[in-house]
């Protein structure tokens, strides 16, 4: 209930992105190398200021476009959480709204409009080596959100190209969860869970062996029953 906005010093609002993908059989995140202090040379999550006339999700989509050349149509984008610890940025008081983006492993340039270096990095090693600001915590939260959502939503398909095989979908689960799944039981569950995947006429042999049917993402928003870890 704003009553006296001027009583308080201004707070900068930023939007940060946790862009996740499955790449080379590893769960990876898009990082930017910082070109200035503080944390010069450290890796950080991409992000930037909220502009005066932008909605939050709009700002997230714009940053995504600027940093990855991925359009919001090609990725799943959802709000993750906000972070506002008073000293999270030593220069000024900032509150950041973090967004989670899940993308297929496209041949992404990963070259942003900034001169800053951009790179995909495996989530686990990056969490161990550390990130600028409180981005380690943000990444951890994003990874946990993604892992949890695979259980009860059809979101694994967001890590796949528009048409994919059941094996490709299964590998997403295996890489994101870090577990092994029985290919035969997974096949049955994925194809029988209402609205998870829908078959296309096509097949492919890109994974070797017998040709596999190609599927598209279904229309379900929730998996019944869930695919438990």
């Amino acid at each position: 209930m704003p009553t006296a906005a001027n009583d308080y010093p201004p707070i900068a609002v930023t939007v940060d992105l946790v862009v996740l993908t499955v790449r080379e059989e590893k769960f990876q995140v898009l990082t930017i190398r910082r070109g200035e202090e503080p944390f010069l040379g450290h890796w950080a999550l991409p992000g930037g200021f909220l502009r005066p006339d932008e909605d939050l999700e709009e700002a997230a989509g714009r940053e995504l476009q600027e940093e990855t050349a991925l359009s919001a149509q090609q990725v799943h984008l959802e709000q993750l959480a906000s972070y506002g610890t008073p000293d999270r940025d030593p220069r000024m008081r900032t509150v950041t709204v973090a967004y989670l983006a899940l993308a297929a492993d496209l041949p992404t340039p990963t070259a942003g409009s900034d001169a800053a270096e951009a790179r995909w990095q495996p989530v686990e090693s990056l969490l161990a080596s550390g990130l600028a600001f409180d981005h380690g915590r943000i990444l951890r939260d994003g990874v946990e959100r993604a892992r949890a959502k695979l259980e009860y939503t059809p979101l694994a398909a967001a890590f796949c190209p528009p048409e994919f095989t059941i094996s490709e979908l299964r590998r997403v689960y295996e890489v994101v969860w870090g577990t092994e799944l029985d290919a035969r039981n997974f096949h049955r569950k994925a194809t029988k869970t209402e609205g998870f995947v829908e078959p296309t006429p096509g097949t492919t042999t890109r994974d070797g062996g017998r040709p596999a049917r190609l599927y598209r993402a279904g229309h379900a928003t929730t998996l019944h029953p869930p695919l438990l870890r």
Copy 2:
């Protein structure tokens, strides 16, 4: 990545609360009647400005204390989401971080430090009659979050007093979900799901009939298996 904060006009950051409880067999939310324009006389969610030295959750806890005299120890408090549509407040640009609070039906004064009138209202009728600002959307998101979390977390106990019966726990599910559950099957699931509830030595007859064993909330953070709707 803040580079030039002064390039942009200041944005006010507020914290709003969706405080939910089960009261008189209905799913209710704490509302405040607005004492000034805009939306004078309309119902709104409690909330206020983020102070210069406060973390987000700290501000949420403070507002909760001010509005309900409930301490953060007595309620479950978690971040819900942030809302920042440019015109969400006609007076100025604001971004609000909404928190979800789940409380037992204590004999709450519901009299805040403000002179504003505070009242518990049934969620459904309030969503139908409308709320100030975008608080209808925030409430809707909070209600949906609460409903979903009952499925796979032991959070229903947050709506109960420290010691409760299985029937009281079941009524939480029935009221929040708006469904009827089989008392016998529910009893078996609740008591057998690892870490959901743990028995105490006591019993009570406050619900009538045969004395019921009293339980406390268990230590689990996730229910295996989930209690599906």
